[in-house]
Point group: C2
């Protein structure tokens, strides 16, 4: 099984005014996810801007041959659910976690998903 | 250069009531894109649900080793711009078209983007 990547947008402002020099909400979410620890089969990677600024904080989940997902409107309280959702995603072959097994935050705050690239593409 | 895939959500309702048995706005957008013809290096592929239902009609652009993009709130009038944007995307190595070269609809109606999978993932 090939590993999944949890990209975390570190530039997200989550609609808040951010004082000059203060860490942005996206950066704080990334730090909290790293501190909590990546589940088996998941890498946590910082990225600057997932172009979903109206829905920050945002993360994406992707892995080879699988559907990719983008989730938004996330906060520090969502860290355990994000990591559990990422763990379940990583354990699938195609990226599709059965609906009932998805954390609530993944059910309700999906922004988009993208199909896997076809082998002949 | 490896080809790009333009996925078109055929289940999008674009916030409209759709009479039973009538083609959905997403399905009509897919048909119009096919009828206009895919640019060189681009495949147009129908997909059921990109999980961006609040922002339909939606399409995504992806190709190996490149950033993927999701665009929303699209209509039949946007067909030429979508195809031109797809052509320019396909012509890049990393999926990043310079801002000034993006069709207006791609500048203003981006829903999200996802980084390429890293080679060691």
């Amino acid at each position: 099984m090939t590993g999944a990547t949890l990209y975390v947008c570190t530039t997200c402002k989550a609609g808040e005014p951010v004082p000059e020099g203060a860490p942005r909400p996206g950066s704080r979410l990334h730090a909290a996810l790293l501190a909590a620890g990546a589940p088996e089969g998941v890498r946590i990677v910082a990225v600057e801007c997932l172009s979903a600024c109206d829905n920050g904080c945002t993360v994406s989940l992707s892995k080879p041959g699988a559907w990719s997902y983008v989730y938004g409107r996330l906060a520090l309280d969502d860290v355990p659910a994000i990591l559990e959702g990422a763990r379940r995603y990583a354990a699938t072959a195609d990226g599709i976690v059965p609906w009932r097994d998805r954390p609530t935050v993944f059910r309700k705050q999906s922004i988009a998903r993208i199909p896997p690239l076809e082998p002949n593409s």
